[in-house]
Amino acid sequence: MTYLLEASQLSAGYGRATILDGIALALPTGAITALLGRNGAGKSTLIKTLIGLLPPRAGTIRFAGHEIASLPPWRIARLGIGYVPEERRIFTDLTVAENLMVGARARDDGRPGWTTAQIFALFPNLAERAHASARQISGGEQQMLAIARTLMGNPRLLLLDEPSEGLAPVIVDEMIAMLRRLRDGGITMLVAEQNLAFAGRLADHAIIIETGQVTWTGTMAALQSAPEIAALRLGV
């Protein structure tokens, strides 16, 4: 198995608090990995550290042959990592189409990347609301917009922080189908989740973090066939 991203001895935190304390993880290329952990375990912190919004205090992160641990977010993003934050962070002062424009970036290798038309084909709801203010679209549409905006930068790795949070079940189904299609198109993903059922339907691999460290890794199938692990480590 090849790994698109590998981190080791990764530590990060806020102020005096250390949240990640020597994390090691590897994301298999072309697969969806679920990042599991209890409330406050540090899932969001890990994702922010990977995209560079929170500079790590120690450790290395190798992504596609580059050391990215000390790079600013925009450089990391340009190397091909897309970030979809937990709070979505849509630009509500902009229209839907303008939000896509912020994320748009040509591929470095000169091959054709995502066009707005393709994105709108993938997210028909957004096409209808293209010129509406992003403040006025529904929560589900905002989540789709957050993903679509990131896709416009042609990432090879997508970091999704609790994408299913607060969405209606039908929308969640749509999202799972859409994310699996993106994976089949070659995009690797790390998806932070609290919802084990959702993770089970989506992911190929799983990582569990507790008290600042990775305490379990394996395939999603292995996790599902051993319910005692989830009970012990995730409290479900």
């Binding site: 993003a77 630009f91 509500t92 424009m101 912020v102 994320g103």
Partner: protein, 602 residues
Amino acid sequence: MSFFLTQTLTGLASASSLFLVAAGLTVIFGVTRVVNFAHGSLCMLGAFIGWSILTRLPRDPAWFALGVLGTAAATALIGAALEIGLLRRIYRAPELFQLLATFGVVLVLADATLWLWGPNDLPLPRPPWLRQFVMIAGSRFPLFDLVLIAIGPLVLAGLLLVFHRTRWGVLVRAATQDRDMVAALGVDQRLLFTSVFALGAGLAGLGGVLALPAGSANLQIDLAVITEAFVIVVVGGLGSIGGAYLAAVLIGVLQAFGVVVLPGATLVLVFVVMAVVLVVRPYGLLGRDRGESRTDAEAVTLQRPAGLWQITAAGIGLALFLAAPLLFGPFAMAIATEMLVAMLFAASLHVMMGPGGMPSFGHAAWFGIGAYGAALLAQNLATPMPLALAGAPILAGLAAFAVGAFIVRLSGVYLAMLTLAFAQIVWAVAVQFVGLTGGDNGVLGVWPADPRGFYYVALGLCVGGVLILRRVLFSPFGFALRAGRDAPARAAASGIDMTAHRLAAFTLSGATAGLAGAIFTYSKGSAFPTYISVSHSVDALIMVLLGGIGSLAGPIIGAIAYTGLFDLLLATDFWRARLGAIIIALVLFFPAGLAGWAERRR
């Protein structure tokens, strides 16, 4: 009718140049979150550079337009250099430090301009086309004013077009809302910030050069313009260009009528309007609450009781102050009094800004009310000194209570702007109400009967005042105040009435500053409007930040260091530039202040 029309047109014409400067300031703030004090200086540079360019060009409209554009481009380049050289390094610093750094730039640019262009006002020779009039409703109206009236909306439309129709503009708007997210999407912020700063600086320069035909290039532009631009930006709503235009029109027209209707009170009028708008709409006409982009919490360490070394240092310091008149004579006594007053003044600001969490750009207001209060009590009512010294802090405290009741609910930049506004009102009263205050001549002849005796009174009051503030900060009141600053929600949940606590701190701080002002008046024998000027407010800020905002020791060390430094520098050429360079260096190298630095070294 024709009076009404011409005054409105005059107001619209001045609104245009106000808008240009304010638009630049608001765009820069929106994206970088830096309140750029040096924006007025960029406008001033625009005037001087414009003068140098335009006086060398043929005097016809086409060349004039070209010269104006060239000036805007030149100031844009200067702005870009400023951003790359300084601001880029301090985006993550607390807001007040950024402000301080840009004030350092104000000082450096003021002296640079003085050095390059000399001290005289430089009016632009006006060729015939600039002196033409048109007849409107039966009265003569300057043609160039009509041009100006058109330029405001044109620039507004151009900016809106750029911000809505280009990718760069969309990025700027996105970054105004959430710059970290923009970076996480792969946008190189450095380019964006530099270009935004250049645009803002270019607009400031444009405003400066376009105001040339009606005025002159002079060294007062920087602070005059920055105050007005602050007002407009805040009234319009931080970050809103449309709001800036509305506010500029409001203020411009108001001034045009004010000059005729209430000639003595235009300044007061402007700031009253600002205060009213902010009380009714706390985020300005078109602004909205963007939340605090970051907090100053990191710079604020916990208040700790004095350790042994601090008590020893304070003891030695006190002994020196006690012995000063005996050992070093009257000159040392004067400097020592200045230091003591500065110490009390800075300590009072610390109460508001540190534990109270309420930044103030206008702390000199309370100082000035105390100073004038004591002087007028002594002069007009023949009040004996002890009573005048007691009355001054009461007056300042009452004023602070009345103002605070309206504004302590606001936070951050808005609170700071409103304190600035109030200080400007007090300043305007001191300057414009000549009958009472003597205007620029001040109130003179308020001397104590026995200078040496007074020195010890001042020493006692200043040291006593600081000790009382200390006592208050370590009382349950002080702890509740800090709890409210650090975790407002939690403090409210545990039943602390934060507004009442903040108001009490605001009042206490104002009263103490008033006492400092009264002592200062007696030590100088006079009260002047300069006591209330923006730069005196900034002096207090510098002292607090220089020493470090984390503890009460900070402002004390800061006050003594700053007063000493100031007196040393005043004796040199280009002292402003030196002071500015020192401020900038301090912000870059000692972001926690001198006391914080000493703390960390131990």
